[in-house]
């Protein structure tokens, strides 16, 4: 597999700093009118860590992602990235903070080719502006974007599909491309929203190993319903129920936590 030299550097660097705290969210609250979707959620993410965010339907997992990516307004809470405090980003600022996100479902642009989809994800790294493009001066920039995008596609084994229209591809493949599109911006933090949702057993296994693999490159927050995926790839778990964190810690302790068992299965009295 070919990787950009700069990607290689990121990996080496990150191994040395593996316990480094990358993202720290304190008492995040989001409410929609009177409904409290998230209440005082704390979450920490270390370098090269895969953190799972689980909970029953409607627990606030996607709302958490939406809050972090600026799609919903945050009522209160603080955000620290790499030890520096940041304002809650607007959606288009997310990439600049080193955060990339995949969308539940897929969110590819169906009428663009696979390559073009990924090139949009690489937008941030382009240098030339609109005027230069209009006058046809951005050729080398385009070529560079294209090469980066091809590398990202190779990472998920879809480079051969680069010229296909995204809308014409089978669902499991589009899931992979969505991840390539997120990876191409070389994020430090990757937010994966149900990457295994709707996939068959074989594709789930593949996704499983990809996520494990990704952790050498960046940190991951994973929202997922497939518990076997969650249990095998995550270093730590946060469990949400009714917008509150009811348990957190390593996979084993969370699995045994009575509050988690109750939230998922109900409890017999």
């Amino acid at each position: 597999m070919r990787l950009l030299p700069e990607l290689g550097l990121v990996c080496l660097e990150s191994i040395h700093m593996s316990e480094h705290n990358l993202l720290s969210i304190k008492s995040l609250s989001v409410s929609f009118g009177g409904l409290k979707a998230l209440t005082n959620v704390d979450l920490d993410l270390n370098q090269n860590e895969v953190v799972g965010l689980i909970g029953p339907n409607g627990a606030g997992k996607t709302t958490f992602f939406n809050a972090l990516s600026g799609l919903v307004d945050v009522s209160s809470g603080t955000l620290e990235i790499n030890g520096k405090s940041h304002k809650w980003p607007k959606p288009y600022e997310l990439i600049d903070l080193g955060i990339a996100r995949t969308l539940q479902g897929v969110g590819l642009f169906p009428e663009l080719t696979v390559l073009e989809n990924v090139m949009i994800g690489a937008n941030k790294t382009a240098k030339s502006g609109l005027i230069a493009s209009a006058l046809g001066l951005s050729g080398s920039d385009e070529l560079r974007l294209k090469q980066r995008s091809m590398i990202a596609l190779e990472r998920v084994y879809t480079a051969s599909l680069a010229d296909e229209k995204a809308g014409s591809l089978p669902y499991p493949v589009t899931k992979r491309i969505a991840i390539a599109r997120a990876l191409v911006s070389e994020p430090r933090i990757l937010l994966l929203d149900e990457p295994a949702g709707g996939l068959g057993a074989q594709d789930i296994e593949w996704m499983n190993s990809l996520i494990q693999n990704l952790a050498s490159q960046c940190s991951v927050i994973l929202v997922e319903h497939h518990m076997d995926v969650v249990m095998s790839v995550c270093d730590r778990l946060y469990v949400l129920n009714f917008g509150e964190v009811i348990a957190s810690g390593d996979v084993e302790s969370v699995r045994r936590d009575p509050a988690v068992v109750e939230a998922y299965l109900g409890v017999s009295h």
Binding site: Y92, N123, L145
Partner: protein
């Protein structure tokens, strides 16, 4: 029904460099020789054929290319496009009669004025989406016309008269009745607009617009500054409209608010939709047909608008995506250096 668009693309892609140059030169030559076809079946009875070529046909083509950046490329429904045409025309009218500037000096000023008004309209309006944006732009188109109707300096309903024709360049004289000269001038502007739009649409800006059109939220999450690109689309669209306006005023010598009604906005929109939103060749074909048809069938007098409407309805039923719809299947944009 065969897909003419894909057929055309196939022919183009299978050509070498020489073949492509030949096609382009041939196409331009045919377009440039249209004024000499007056004696053929193309002739428009009653209306002066060469004058029809200038307005509406060439003027519609230019404006449709501009509007296509806004509607076809970025999916922003603009119902007030005539405003930019009017701003270009009134800039020409005002500066042409009040100052000693000539058409060629006013052309960049008119374009700049249209672009500036594009920003003024775009910055507040582009926070809205879909139908709401359409309503605001519709209002803007009317505001510009009504301001022209009420402002003394713009001649109210009388408009501006005695606008000078362009001075001759390269030994070519612009007399107000030498239509073919104006037609060729517009043809040059059209070619420039095509070149600009084609450049943009295969590059980053084109992808950004395309992503905004298909899923604005996803585009924003991927770091596309959607607002900036939407304003740019508006401003570029406006610049083409402004250029058309300057030439229009310099050709007709007389402009009045009645030349810039909502009907023009709708007609240009019809050209874009009829020809095939998003595909520049479709849009050009649509504008040629919709500009030409009413004058070709002028002998039907009163009934011609009925026939015109009927053609629109039938075509929209047979080809809802337009005559030459946008690409059905795209190939990689840059072939060289693929790994």
């Amino acid at each position: 029904m065969i897909n003419l668009r894909d057929k055309g693309a196939e022919v183009w892609e299978n050509q070498g460099r020489a073949g492509r140059v030949a096609i382009a030169v041939g196409g331009i030559a045919i377009a440039a020789s249209l004024p000499f076809m007056g004696g053929t079946i193309l002739n428009t009875p009653i209306a002066d054929y060469e004058s029809v070529l200038v307005y509406p046909i060439a003027m519609f083509v230019l404006m449709a290319i501009g509007l296509n950046i806004v509607i076809g490329k970025s999916g922003l429904l603009d119902l007030g496009y005539v405003a930019f045409f009017a701003i270009g025309a009134y800039t020409m009218g005002l500066l042409g009669t009040k100052t000693g500037l000539n058409t060629w000096e006013i052309l960049p000023i008119g374009i700049a004025m249209a672009m500036f008004s594009g920003i003024i309209l775009g910055v507040p309006a582009l926070k809205l989406r879909g139908d709401y944006l359409a309503i605001v732009t519709l209002g803007f188109g009317e505001i510009v016309r009504i301001v022209a109707l009420n402002l003394g300096a713009l001649g109210r309903s009388e408009g501006i008269q005695g606008i000078p024709t362009p001075p001759g360049i390269f030994g070519i004289e612009y007399a107000f009745d030498s239509h073919r000269i104006y037609y060729w001038t517009l043809l040059i502007l059209i070619l420039f607009a095509i070149w600009m739009v084609r450049r943009l649409s295969v590059r980053r800006a084109g992808r950004a617009w395309e992503s905004i059109r298909q899923d604005e939220d996803a585009a924003e999450l991927l770091g596309v500054p959607t607002f900036k690109y939407k304003v740019w689309a508006f401003v570029l669209g406006a610049s083409v409209g402004g250029a058309a306006g300057v030439i229009y005023a310099s050709k007709t010598l007389f402009i009045a608010p009645d030349n810039f009604t909502l009907q023009i906005s709708i007609l240009i929109l019809a050209c874009v939709v009829f020809g095939g939103m998003g595909n520049i060749w479709g849009v050009i074909l649509g504008a040629v047909i919709l500009g030409y048809l009413p004058d070709r069938i002028r002998f039907l007098s009163e009934a011609r608008l009925l026939v015109f409407g009927l053609v629109l309805v039938i075509m929209m039923n047979l080809r809802p995506d337009g005559l030459l719809p946008r690409k059905k299947r795209e190939k990689a944009l840059i072939k060289k250096g693929s790994s």
